[in-house]
């Protein structure tokens, strides 16, 4: 395995090892580029993964302090990961392509008051080939001749309801979970607990795919428990390296030819903002003032329904089930953009009483808890609109153990978000009632798992942070390599698009390096 010197300024430094950073690292390493990947979390193995939701939450989650405001939980505004593999250890596996019109949100939806809409600088056609590569890499079911997963009970309820509702586009999803053995990883055993990590590795995660493959090339060094504090630059405004704290809190500087930021949409802007200097007083790559802004955690919500018979929704692949009809663009519904309905990871028995109706108690609620076996559920995920007021800033009060100001995350719903959620709740309630549901609980978002848009792509330097390759407008050897670069959130789960963008970015970086441009 490779080991690079701290003063080796020929390496590409990647910050983060998840869907963006892990993929980019492997792609570059395969092409002969030397990579140092700095990951804040520890490196686990499959043996560390179990089916205890609380235990895995503690092992995987980003638990350093954060401040949430607006509609967010003040203590846990987002539920994302601090571990090698990042949020690909915890994700549910849903791998959907964005729809062509979603890359042209401003053109398609028009100006919406209060929203900071823009078109992506790239089109669906620009990304199509990379979607192909990403799906093949991840083994996405329902693509490239890969069989879909069988539907579990919760899916079958969703499917029967979809038929009653007249929906046409429903199936067990496009999942980066093996339906057959593939790429040295086994087929799904319908274990459940996908979001606690897949104990057998049937679900794609950079932890046991991209990262070991990158290490085999001899071009890739992973440094776990390495928390990057700031990015340094020279007098010409080029990035020169990064300062990070190791497991013991000791600071090091790793020199770099190129720096790629992939710390998820809260940590990435936090790092750029914390890298402010006399040359970049508002933070690195922030001449537009857009770093940290347009934070989009997706429009989400959940529905729990008590059905006439047993469902046992903890059995089987959690999110292998989707209805896509409502993801179309159709503003006659009273809102722009669309949403998907997906089978709910219900978080088991401690989860259902805690989440169906937070804070509820008494005899009626106890009776609904007793009906646990009969509960079905779905998760709503839709396009939320970028708003400048929704943003990540540096807390002026709270610092982490390294003395770095923590992220303050603010999010409040746009009227369009509220209208979409109401519509989704209504449709979902009707769906379950069409099958005789005794009661339906609709609920507000969980702590957000999709975090997007805080360093967005834009065609001009004044309206966003980076170009269509994720290269920042202000610093040519600094790249955004995660979901932060999303111009808009689209209705679909983001991971596949993050991976496709990372593959495309790797090709671009390799090309620009050999052309001597960076």
């Amino acid at each position: 395995m490779a080991k690079f010197d701290l003063n080796d300024d020929s390496v590409v430094v990647i910050i983060g090892s998840g869907a963006g950073g892990g993929t980019l690292g492997n792609e570059l390493a395969q092409q002969g580029v030397k990579v140092v990947c700095l990951e804040a979390g520890k490196r686990l193995t499959l043996a560390d993964i179990n089916n205890d939701g609380g235990d895995m939450f503690m092992k995987l989650s980003w638990l350093d302090p954060r401040v949430g405001s607006g509609d967010l939980d003040p203590n846990l505004p987002a539920w994302i990961c601090k571990t090698v593999g990042g949020t690909t250890v915890h994700w549910a596996g849903a791998s959907l392509r964005f729809q062509p019109h979603e890359f042209k949100a401003l053109t398609t939806y028009g100006r919406v008051v209060g929203a900071n809409l823009d078109d992506w600088p790239i089109s669906y056609e620009d990304l199509e080939h990379y979607y192909d590569l990403a799906e093949d890499k991840m083994g996405v079911t329902g693509t490239h001749g890969i069989e879909r997963l069988p539907g579990n009970n919760n899916y079958k309820v969703l499917e029967a309801g979809a038929k009653k509702m007249g929906y046409k586009d429903y199936h067990t999803g496009n999942m980066a979970i093996n339906s057959k053995m593939r790429d040295g990883r086994p087929a799904c055993r319908q274990i459940g607990f996908c979001m606690s990590g897949c104990a057998i590795g049937a679900k794609w995660s950079t932890l046991y795919t991209e990262i070991p493959k990158a290490e085999e090339t001899g071009n890739f060094e992973l440094r776990p428990e390495s928390m990057v504090i700031r990015i340094n630059h020279d007098a010409s405004g080029k990035a020169t390296g990064v300062v990070y704290a190791d497991a013991n809190g000791v600071m090091h500087e790793q020199k770099a030819r190129i720096v790629c930021v992939a710390g998820n949409s809260i940590e990435s802007p936090r790092l750029l903002l914390n890298s402010a200097s006399s040359m970049f007083p508002d933070g690195l790559a922030n001449s537009s003032g857009q770093v940290g802004r347009n934070y989009m955690p997706h429009l989400t919500g959940a529905v729990y329904a008590i059905m006439p018979g047993e469902v046992n929704l903890h059995r089987g692949t959690q999110m292998a089930g989707i209805i896509r009809d409502e993801s179309r663009y159709d503003d006659r519904r009273g809102f722009v953009a669309g949403y998907e309905l997906e089978t709910l990871p219900a978080f088991g028995m401690p989860g259902y009483p805690a989440y169906a109706k937070p804070g509820a108690w008494g005899r009626e609620y106890a009776r609904d808890i007793e009906a646990y076996r009969n509960v079905a559920g779905l998760w709503i995920v839709g396009e939320d609109l970028p708003q400048e007021i929704n943003r990540v800033t540096l807390s002026d009060k709270v610092k982490d153990k390294n003395g770095m100001p923590v992220a303050h995350v603010h999010k409040q719903d746009h009227a369009n978000d509220k209208a979409m959620r109401e519509h989704a709740w209504k449709q979902s309630t009707a769906l379950y009632e069409s099958l005789g549901a005794r009661k339906v609980y609709t609920r507000m978002p969980f702590s957000s798992t999709h975090n997007l848009g805080t360093c967005r792509q834009s065609s001009t330097a004044s309206t966003g942070v980076c170009n269509g390759f994720g290269q920042t407008h202000d610093v040519s050897n600094l790249f955004i390599s995660d979901g932060s670069q999303f111009t808009t959130s689209a209705a679909e789960n983001p991971t596949l698009t993050i991976v496709a963008l990372a593959i495309r970015q790797a090709e671009y970086i390799r090309g620009e390096m050999s052309r001597g441009n960076i």
Binding site: L63, G151, M307, P350
Partner: protein, 182 residues
Amino acid sequence: MLLEELELRRRAFLKIAGGSAFMSLAAGTGLSAFSANAWSAHHLKAISEDQGHALLALARTLFPHDFLADSYYGNIVNAIDAKADGSADTLKLVTDGAARLERLARANFDGQGFAQLPEKSRVRILKTIEKSPFFSFMYGETLGGLYGNPEIWKIFGFEGSSFEKGGYLERGFDDINWLPKD
């Protein structure tokens, strides 16, 4: 990491709902020594027997499952007692809260104690203290202690860890039998 910090973060996991529920999964461990049947307040260390009975009545009022023996709720009281034994703040929260329950009960229901009241009266009292830190604490402890208990999972139908059994592929992941045939 301090134990208190760990505990806070465990609670955060169950707080991802964004609701007011502070729960402790930790309370779900070590409960299997007690199964169905009666519960005794004799062995309580930090709180009195009367306080123990009041807390048990409170827990049962929050989530009344008539088929569950007192021991399931008593285990939660035991866990609270252990916490109160190790923390003066918790002890004060719990004893002040239990005293308040008693005061409200005796003042409004002919001098009867909280634990002796019918459920309807207990609900009326709890509604008046729903916003208090004591109620939030008891809510979290009860939710976590009851539904985080693997014995309770069996009764309610949550089947727990499955990977060591090979998942549900051959164990009913798609065995639903009541849906319309169309």
